[in-house]
């Protein structure tokens, strides 16, 4: 294998092909369309399934059907299209079928624009559709990770019979950089529960109905136990210059990349700054963050939204250290200098506060708390 210059959208699509994805269903939407176009050519070439659906509603339900039939299957879209998929995603959680969804996020709300944003964090991490369910959410920060995390997304989806989401933003989809594709994987056998015709076996059913509330609760407890297992086993994150850090940024995807540039500049000035980059947004690196909060004076959450992941960070940190937020919205990318300024302010606020307290730029909504040692 060798390093090639690849566009993010093409990279994840080709990675899916190599991961053994046998059926792709999608609907055009910028800034993700190159993936659909890649699949339109590649999948038929390999004798696999490609369907351009009439809508994202249809696309996700086609994925639901192919997943119910036990195929590795996926769709990709961007924010407005992903909103239309919420119904199908909830049904897939309710019937425990595996699949992969790629959301190349763009500026919103509404039609918004086609510039990069991270404003679907809450929608993806907290469920989005109806009912108590979770999806594994992976956040790439390089084109190489668009590839690697797509492979991981399929493996985790199959292992846990869950939907895995690759949550990228428009710049991840559009940027080109050197990356290495994996070799072609052999196609997987259909699992025993799949709908393949009841030849010499009992009939199979893929359904999300449990009309009896007690039975539905039993199913929900089963889902929650599965989610707890995922939380225990599948957390992934990157720690960058955290060993001696006094102030740490928490950011994912493109925001984390920009933050790294800012941190490099500050390090040269002697500011002890570092970065915690969650790679799994669910399950969230809670233990790593709690541990970090015990070591630094203050945390700065940087996002390309109005403050979504920061809600989780504050929940996890429980007031141990000040948590500040810096975000740009609507498709605007934060610049390294802006982030550097925010880190400096956070560092001085942390040093001044000394003891655990809360401050937050752009609205302090987390009251200082008494925290048991």
């Amino acid at each position: 294998m060798s390093v090639e210059l690849l566009k993010g959208n093409v990279a994840f699509a080709e990675a899916a092909v190599r991961a053994g994805c046998e059926a792709y269903f999608g609907y055009p939407i910028t800034p993700q369309t190159e993936a659909l176009e890649h699949m339109a050519k590649r999948m038929p070439e390999l004798g696999r399934v490609f369907v351009q659906a009439e809508s994202e509603v249809a696309a996700i339900n086609m994925v639901y059907g192919a997943a119910a039939a036990g195929m590795r299957t996926m769709t990709s879209s961007s924010s407005p299209g992903v909103s239309l998929m919420m119904e199908g995603l909830s049904y897939m959680a309710g019937s425990e079928v595996p699949a992969v969804l790629v959301d190349v996020m763009r500026g919103g709300p509404g039609l918004g624009n086609i510039a990069p944003a991270q404003s679907d964090y809450l929608q993806m991490v907290k469920g989005g559709g109806h009912g108590d369910y979770k999806m594994i959410v992976l956040a790439p920060a390089t084109v190489q990770e668009m590839i690697d995390l797509t492979l991981l997304a399929f493996d985790l989806a199959d292992r846990y019979r869950i939907v895995s989401v690759l949550l990228a933003d428009g710049s991840m989809g559009q940027m080109m950089e050197g990356a290495e594709l994996p070799p072609m994987k052999p196609l997987a056998e259909r699992p025993a529960w799949a709908l393949t015709g009841a030849r010499d076996r009992d009939t199979n059913l893929v359904s999300s109905i449990h009309l009896d509330p007690e039975e539905e609760e039993t199913f929900n407890l089963h889902l929650q136990a599965k989610y707890a297992e995922i939380e225990a086993n599948e957390v992934r994150f990157e720690e960058h210059l955290l060993d001696d850090a006094r102030v740490a940024v928490v950011a994912f995807g493109t925001a984390a990349r920009v933050a790294k540039t800012a941190i490099a500049g500050l390090r040269a000035e002697g500011v002890a700054a570092g970065l915690l980059r969650p790679i799994t947004l669910w399950p969230y690196p809670e233990a790593a963050l709690r541990d970090l909060a015990a070591r630094v004076d203050a945390l700065l959450v940087v996002e390309m939204n109005a403050g979504q992941m920061v809600e989780d960070v504050r929940r996890i940190v429980e007031g141990r250290v000040p948590v500040r937020f810096y975000g740009r919205t609507g498709g605007v990318m934060p610049m390294p200098e802006e982030i550097a300024d925010a880190i400096r302010e956070t560092a001085s606020a942390g040093a001044a506060s000394g003891a655990p307290a809360d401050t937050a730029a752009g609205g302090s909504d987390a009251p200082a708390q008494e925290v048991p040692a």
Binding site: E54, N61, G65, G88, T196, S207
Partner: protein
Amino acid sequence: MTIQAPEPLLTPVYQYPESLTHVPTHYCPGCTHGIAHRLIAEVIDEMGVRQDTIGVASVGCSVFSYRYFATDFAQAAHGRAPAMATGVKRANPDKLVFTYQGDGDLASIGAAEILHAAVRGENITVFFVNNAIYGMTGGQMAPTTLEGQKTTSSPAGRDAATTGAPLRMSELLAQVDGAAYVVRRSLHDVVQIRRAKKAIRRALEVQRQGLGFAMVELLSSCPTNWGLAPDAALAFIRDEMVPVFPLGDLKVPDEPAAGAPA
């Protein structure tokens, strides 16, 4: 004394279909969903394809149809059965895949999914049970509700001026190039039921031959929500529904499907 099992006196001519489970249905007395189920099951038996058939249930009174058919089954979201069936069929091109949908499901919330399944010539078979009402939710107006028909959401009778006239989905879908077989039958008497069964057979044969999208619309009764006794409900289909939804073949393949029953 040993008891000898009696020799069968006659060859049975009417048996419980192998493709139906032995689960009692939840349908109301006089509802024709049960007849539709039985016809489909008989045809699956006669074609010998029970182990090669996958059903996709929709949302409506037939939501539990997966309990009654002894085949693999999926349960789709409201209106999305044709999209889900697309995924199931593309993943299993050598299996027979059918959806079973009501008129609220197919003609209202799922109008886009059914239309585009036909546009793609999706090689699936659709059983469309048209009872001119939303049965499961308690009798609201459907796109197929007749003009003047009283429902819980058109208490003064359906007014075409504000809610439109009944939507004839079979006529609409027959316009689509990808549709290979689109017919309307009724379940209101024995003759019609026998015709319906032949159409069900043909629709599955069309799929087996890979000819494209096939749909059988079945005019059906809803005594409970129409507020009619079962016999009066069958008369309502004959006298009120058939004039609005004429029975017949709206589109059939040029060549008669080989192996189809006479």
